[in-house]
Symmetry: C2
Subunit: 199 residues, 2 copies
């Protein structure tokens, strides 16, 4: 029913996760309403982003330079704190908060034997080399609270045994603003176990 | 913070209506996860769709041929019923339902003096020429129920006065499955006025 070229465009939108048929159609029609110049820019920006963006050779973060914006930031050069994340997106997330001013290292995901992702698949070598080179005082694991996150934290902690580095992870507990009745029992149990003294 | 080429891509996604910053970021990251070939196809399909899709010279519908799929459908050639819509998308919508097998004519929107859209701006000439040529028995206005829809219907009806053509519009009333308490008063009033005898 749709003109062939429109069909192709809709199919392309559908290849993005979370975009179903209806949304793909809506976006394709909306795209056709843009002017020629805008579409040309859009089309080129896709190719350019895919071509230029690669990983930072130091921290494995997304970048289109040799070093990412954090690794090339001189003010962080002497930081002794390294935050390890599972995905480049999380670095952007932390940076938007503007609350952490140390260094980052991005893994290629988390260890998940059930999904066939083993320790050698997530780029640990690069992390370990870096830990040896940089003179760190603390490593923060900022993984999502999950079996995979725990496994990966414990695995790396074991490798680092004997080094004089403090190893921490993000606190987990009841999220600010949550209604207590909607908090799942695992989170509540964790929050209870990790309770803090009010000083 | 984002690499420049990623920023451009996010901006492009944001130029689509209904796509805010968060969604644009999510889509841009998802796009980068596609492989090179998929992105090439996506990028080309945008350019191709914009370049090839134009309006059907007969009914003003979207098409990449000279005539759209309805106008080139021989089985409809002798239909005496013309459905007039305000947007090409509505033809796809009707065709998906597979309940109307007549012809269509697509206007370039509805008359809306407040928005500066006057009768001469919505392609009425083409419609009137066509009505004169085709030997029609009925014209259905399938506009959205709104001031603009009513205005456009009445305006065209007035022009066609004296021609022996039945002029109809879509019924409006309570949508099937709606909870009565959530139906707005204007719709309810219309439904009451247009009440049907149960036979």
């Amino acid at each position: 029913m749709y003109p062939r070229s429109l069909d192709c465009l809709i199919e392309s939108f559908k290849s993005l996760p979370g975009i179903g048929s209806k949304t793909a159609e809506r976006l394709a029609f909306a795209l056709l309403d843009l002017d020629n110049e805008q579409i040309k820019v859009f089309s080129e920006s896709m190719l350019e982003a895919k071509e230029k963006i690669h990983r930072c050779k130091k921290c494995n973060m997304m970048t289109d330079e040799e070093l990412c914006f954090v690794c090339s930031d001189d003010s962080r050069k002497d930081s002794k704190v390294l935050c390890v994340v599972e995905d480049p997106k999380n670095v952007f997330l932390f940076e938007k908060l503007d609350m952490f001013h140390g260094k980052y290292h991005v893994l290629d995901g988390l260890i998940s034997p059930l999904d066939g992702i083993n320790p050698e698949d997530i780029g640990l070598d690069k992390l370990l080399d870096r830990i040896k080179e940089d003179n760190l005082e603390e490593i923060i694991f900022a993984f999502k609270p999950s079996i995979e996150g725990e496994t990966t934290s414990l695995y790396i902690k074991k490798i680092l045994e004997g080094l004089n580095i403090k190893i921490t992870k993000l606190a987990s507990g009841v999220p600010i603003g949550a209604d207590m009745e909607y908090v799942d029992s695992l989170t509540l149990e964790r929050a209870l176990n990790d309770r803090k003294t009010i000083e």
